[in-house]
């Protein structure tokens, strides 16, 4: 465990909690009894073979799908039934397995969209008064934008500054004004992370951030993720296909197969788990390598 996390030991209330979450599509059980807790400073891994339900788990956590059973709590609030953007406002941000940038927007604008959306809105409001105040804030915002008030201009400058900072952190400053679709693949992945950071999350969910990268790029990325966790005081949950890599950086790993959690624990424990190896690598691997690696 890193020093930063230890320093925060006492303030480690759970930021994201999944409790017995299940989801079904028709007859197919995509996720069964999934539980997970992310605290500030965590760097957790979620692994499993193709179709194991990793991305589904992400989608349930972020509100894209509604769980059939179980409960998801973000920052202590139950978020079942809330919309993704509301959950995002509670401090949960994500990237996508198949990159989903705003392709025609510049790199800078991609990040600014996220920076803004956090906005001045009442973050957790569900009641009538919160809705009303949100509406009022909203109208004031539109008015400011239409009238180009000094406040709006200042805010716009501030947003640009924040976004530029995030681009810099992700090493994308030189791409500031390029359309997202014209960026090379690896940079698109990084831009997605920058965008997610723009929403000022407390928990960051990364869906296969290293997909398509070569070994060296992957290593760099993992270093970067650690750094982000520490600098931005995040809890991070990573889906990754590459076992070796995950094992390298995650402190705690959950393994899914066919929607079920088949193993969890520290990398060393998971690595030794026979069920994991079976699921992940198939029986043939076991035979040829003669048991646990």
């Amino acid at each position: 465990m890193s020093a930063a996390v230890q320093a925060n030991q006492d303030s480690r209330a759970p930021l994201l909690q999944a409790d017995g979450v299940s989801i079904q599509f028709g007859g197919l059980k995509a996720l069964t009894d999934f539980s997970l807790t992310v605290r500030q400073g965590d760097l957790l891994g979620l692994i499993g073979p193709n179709g194991a339900g990793k991305s589904t788990a992400f989608n349930v956590l972020t509100g894209v799908y509604q769980p059939s059973q179980g409960e998801v709590r973000v920052a202590g609030q139950r978020v079942n039934g809330r919309k993704p953007h509301q959950i995002n406002h509670l401090g949960l941000a994500r990237t996508f397995q198949n990159i989903r940038l705003f392709r025609a927007l510049t790199a800078l604008d991609n990040v600014k969209v996220a920076c803004r959306a956090q906005g001045a809105l009442h973050p957790t409001g569900m009641g009538v008064s919160a809705k009303l105040s949100n509406a009022l804030v909203n109208y004031r915002d539109w008015w400011r934008a239409l009238m180009l008030t000094p406040h709006f201009q200042a805010e716009e400058r501030e947003l640009t500054r924040q976004a530029e900072h995030l681009l810099e952190v992700m090493g994308l400053s030189h791409r500031r004004d390029e359309e997202a679709r014209n960026l090379p693949y690896g940079e698109q992945r990084r831009l997605e992370i920058a965008r997610a950071l723009g929403t000022r999350p407390r928990v960051l969910l990364l869906d296969e951030p290293a997909a398509g990268m070569n070994t060296r790029e992957k290593a760099d990325l993992m270093v970067l993720i650690r750094k982000l966790r520490d600098d931005f005081k995040l809890g991070v949950l990573v889906i990754e296909h590459d076992m070796k890599l995950v094992m390298g950086i995650c402190e705690h790993i959950t393994v899914l197969d066919h929607g079920e959690t088949i193993s969890r624990g520290a990398p060393a424990e998971v690595r030794g788990d026979r069920k994991v190896i079976e699921a992940y690598l198939g029986d043939s691997y076991l035979e040829s390598h003669g048991g646990a690696a």
């Binding site: 972020t62 894209v64 919309k83 993704p84 953007h85 995002n88 406002h89 941000a93 994500r94 996508f96 989903r100 940038l101 705003f102 392709r103 025609a104 927007l105 510049t106 800078l108 604008d109 600014k112 969209v113 996220a114 803004r116 959306a117 956090q118 906005g119 909203n138 915002d141 539109w142 934008a145 239409l146 009238m147 180009l148 008030t149 000094p150 709006f152 201009q153 805010e155 716009e156 400058r157 947003l159 640009t160 400053s173 500031r176 004004d177 390029e178 359309e179 014209n182 965008r195 997610a196 723009g198 929403t199």
Partner: protein
Amino acid sequence: METPALPVPEARSAIPPALRGILPVLVALPVLALFQWVTNESPFAVYLLSVMGVNIILAVSLNIVNGMTGQFSIGHAGFMAVGAYISGVMSLNLKEVALSFLPVAASDQVLFTLALLVGGLAAAACGFLVGLPSLRLRGDYLAIVTLGFGEIIRVVVQNTDAFGRALGLSGIPQYSSPYMIYFWVFLTVLVARRIAGSSHGRSLWAIREDEVAAEAMGVDTTGYKVRSFVISSFFAGIAGGLFAHFVPIINPGSFTFVKSMEIVVMVVLGGLGSTTGAIVAAIFLTLLPEGLRSAFNLLGTESTLAQKVDQIRMPIYGLLLVVLMLSRPQGLFGTRELWDVLPRWIPRRRRGLS
């Protein structure tokens, strides 16, 4: 194509920030007065400019929904009808009323503005109603709902005595002047551009690009979609009100599905998302039929062909659309604006790291 799709607010400017918001309006007013004065003497120019202005408002406002937000609305004529009828009825009823503390002409314009706003707000309310299903519907399904809404409005008007049924409303006072119309054109364009340049605009673009990602990044997609419908239909209603006050007769036949399609054509032809593109396309498509008319008139007034040719305009219009789309599928400007595609000798805005 290294041009950014969105305008970057200028970092430095000689104009004090407090003035920037209102300055375009201050500049526009005298320019429009000049404009009014110059055009005043040719009723046909005035009429054509009025039609053009209304079409520009319609195209630019539809572009907010279709171009910026990426929703597909094909019922814009319905919102226009709401604005036209509501403000028309109001003006008819207020025809004899004058505000005592103002000269008659000024009083008329005040009441006219009031009627326009009421019409616009009524249209905006309808836009809200139509926007609501967009919470659930996507793409072509939303499109057909907007189309259906437009048709329903038309049928309702046709069966309502207060709206003059099939004959429509006639005798609406002719309050629309190029000054008024182009002031609204200006406001519409200003609003569209300022939205595009603000974080709200970026949220709309984000929805157009990827709704799921936008939602995940904290953009209230349904809220923004409804709001874009409301704003767009407000201006469509204003356009309808202006239209009603210069034709000055409206009947349900003017607000059919075909009219809606004409507006969609302007937006797509100009390039989805490009405000200036919508303007140029609206101007072009308004002048095109009249241009064809002038061309045919050259054939002489006596020939039978010249008398028949007026009928040929519409098929030619259709074929021209096909040819235009085939030659420029992304529209005239794509998502870019006029100044992004102008030749080099016109100084461009600075961009990039500065």
